[in-house]
């Protein structure tokens, strides 16, 4: 079918490590769904049989940050919830990317009021912003493809070892 059909016996191909690693990373982006409100329903709908996100490589929606690459923040983030989102983001291992899904996460959306954070880029680095209230599942799949393109352009040496962020622990005496 693919590459292996063209290889005859005892053949080899050369590539750069960067290209191989980037290809491996972008073909299986496992999202961490931070589903908070209405956009979460459209995210669930992008996993159903009609809009199948699994064919793009995101087969599993792991609800644990330790096993995922990309955090999809779907829903309005309030000040009370922002600490939780940041905590989960800190627990994700490198390399990681963030999709800000919907108008509420990009800029506060239609909620210009006291408890809503006007855009999550005030405390998280965001890679792709999605417009829509809520964005259609097709739109989310488009954002996923954009992230895949962005990953395809990275090099393996972009992600050096960084010191772990400080996590706060409550001590029970």
């Amino acid at each position: 079918m693919g590459l292996e059909a063209k290889l005859k016996e005892e053949s080899f191909f050369t590539s750069t490590i960067d290209a191989l690693v980037a290809w491996a990373r972008k073909s299986a982006v496992w999202p961490m769904p931070m589903g908070i409100s209405c956009c979460a329903i459209e995210m669930m709908a992008s996993g159903d049989p009609k809009y199948d996100i699994a064919r793009f490589g995101s087969e599993v929606m792991r609800f644990t940050p330790r096993q995922s690459d990309c955090m999809i923040v779907a829903g309005t983030v309030t000040y009370k919830m922002s600490h939780v989102v940041k905590k989960i983001y800190d627990q994700m291992p490198d390399p990681k990317w963030v999709i800000a899904m919907g108008a509420c996460t990009s800029s506060g959306g239609m909620y210009r009021s006291y408890p809503v954070v006007q855009g999550i880029d005030q405390f998280l680095p965001v890679d792709v912003y999605l417009a829509g209230c809520p964005p259609r599942p097709d739109n989310l799949l488009n954002a996923l493809m954009q992230i895949q393109e962005k990953i395809g352009r990275t090099k393996a040496r972009d992600f050096q070892d960084r010191p772990l962020p400080e996590l706060t622990v409550i001590q029970n005496n």
Partner: protein, 417 residues
């Protein structure tokens, strides 16, 4: 790493957890109890709900839910915008059945202003509310089955729901949060294509629901995980304020469509499913049967729908049609006044409630004669349903907590307002 001492952590919620009455005694108690945090980010809490559980081994002794992680300030915003501008916000309250919330808000404003929509608009609103009920219950059943372990049912019910969303896409222009109703009627007429598609949908719906039910109704794991779990009696349910399917699952026959009828529900012939046991399985059966009754109602609506206008012709309160605004002077002035200053209902107050899929959704509006409400209170059913959670989970295991939350079916967008 930074260590925070016990005194620095907010103590009021922990104090409330420790003070709860515990009339449970377990046989071999461990030496000390454990406080577990089922945090706001959890695959099975149906949104951002935080639960603090006090455990003795795996048995739950006390539980305190904490809300507020999705509090978006609806009531404050409603005091600062006109009645028309608030219609898209009502979509996002119970975001699984957005059209039902739209209908509730518009009925509340119409009652306050003293106007009534024409019959065809009322029939279309009823049809759309019943479809919203089917859509919401499909997600409830699917999510409950998924939490308990049956993943396939979730995908099948979502497939049915996609058909409803397709119908809404053609009717309203948006598949999900469609602000379709207007004060005085609906935004546009139901096209014949839509009515034909609705008819096709209800023909094939019951078979597909039977197929989903065959997977779980006689499945031993499903039944044993839900039978006898989270029991609440009829009297307790009324005391704690349950309404909707949760109340009907405990044996109380109370449905707002029959008790205080609104729109044309008086002319419709449908049963109210009631189950007496009061456990999770009873609430699940109530939801599945309600969708069948909704199909019956939609069939009658399609037969009885009258011809006519879909928006009222009252220039002081209702936005005029676009074609007339561009060609006539009076309508242009009215449009300007209504959009900029609001519809100015007379001084007074009114409370209107409808039967939402989750329970009773009520809007309490106080008007001082201005274009925006002086006070708007949203009585959300999910907040009241969650109040029963500490009482329901006492004595059960942690895995039952998930089944109980799934059967209560809360939606945090509504509970947190």
């Amino acid at each position: 790493m930074d260590k925070i001492k016990r005194e620095e952590v907010p103590t009021k919620i922990l104090q409330s957890l420790i003070n709860q009455e515990t009339d449970i005694s377990v046989d071999d108690t461990l030496e000390n109890e454990m406080i577990l945090n089922m945090g706001p980010q959890h695959p099975a809490t149906h949104g951002v709900l935080r639960l603090l559980l006090r455990l003795d081994g795996e048995t739950v002794i006390a539980c305190v839910p904490e809300l507020g992680y999705l509090h978006r300030g609806y009531e404050k915003m409603a005091e600062n915008m006109t009645y028309y501008e608030f219609i898209p916000h009502t979509d996002r309250l119970d975001y699984l059945s957005p059209l039902a919330n739209n209908v509730a808000w518009v009925l509340a404003v119409e009652k306050l202003a003293g106007i009534e929509a024409p019959p065809r608009a009322q029939y279309i609103r009823m049809m759309v509310s019943e479809m919203a009920r089917i859509a919401s219950h499909l997600v409830a059943i699917g999510a409950l089955a998924m939490d308990v372990g049956a993943l396939t049912v979730f995908l099948w019910t979502l497939r049915e729901r996609e058909k409803i969303l397709d119908i809404w896409d053609i009717l309203c222009g948006a598949r999900f949060t469609n602000s379709y109703t207007r004060i005085g009627g609906v935004a546009n007429d139901a096209q014949p294509e839509v009515l034909a598609k609705v008819k096709w949908f209800i023909e094939q719906y019951e078979e597909n629901l039977d197929e989903c039910e065959r997977l779980i109704n006689t499945n031993r794991i499903f039944v044993e995980r839900m039978d006898g779990v989270g029991v609440i009696s009829g009297e307790d349910a009324i005391q704690i304020g349950f309404t909707g399917p949760n109340l009907r699952g405990s044996g109380v026959e109370f449905d707002l469509r029959r008790a205080t009828p609104y729109m044309f529900y008086n002319d419709m012939d449908f049963k109210i499913p009631v189950y007496k046991e009061g456990d999770c399985l009873a609430r699940y059966f109530v939801r599945a049967d309600e969708t069948r009754e909704s199909v019956k109602i939609i069939r009658q609506i399609l037969d009885k729908m009258p011809q006519g206008e879909t928006i009222l012709n009252n220039p002081k309160r209702v936005l005029p049609k676009k074609t007339e605004i561009y060609s006539k002077m009076e309508e242009l002035i009215h449009d300007f006044m209504i959009v900029n200053f609001g519809i100015n209902p007379p001084v007074g107050e009114a409370y209107t409630a409808v039967e939402n899929p989750k329970g009773e959704l009520g809007f309490y509006l106080v008007s001082q004669g201005e274009g925006h409400p002086w006070k708007c209170k949203i009585r959300s059913p999910s907040m009241v349903n969650l109040q029963a959670l500490p009482q329901l989970v006492k004595g059960h295991m942690i895995s039952d907590v998930v089944a109980i939350i799934g059967s209560l079916d809360p939606v945090m967008g509504e509970a947190d307002k």
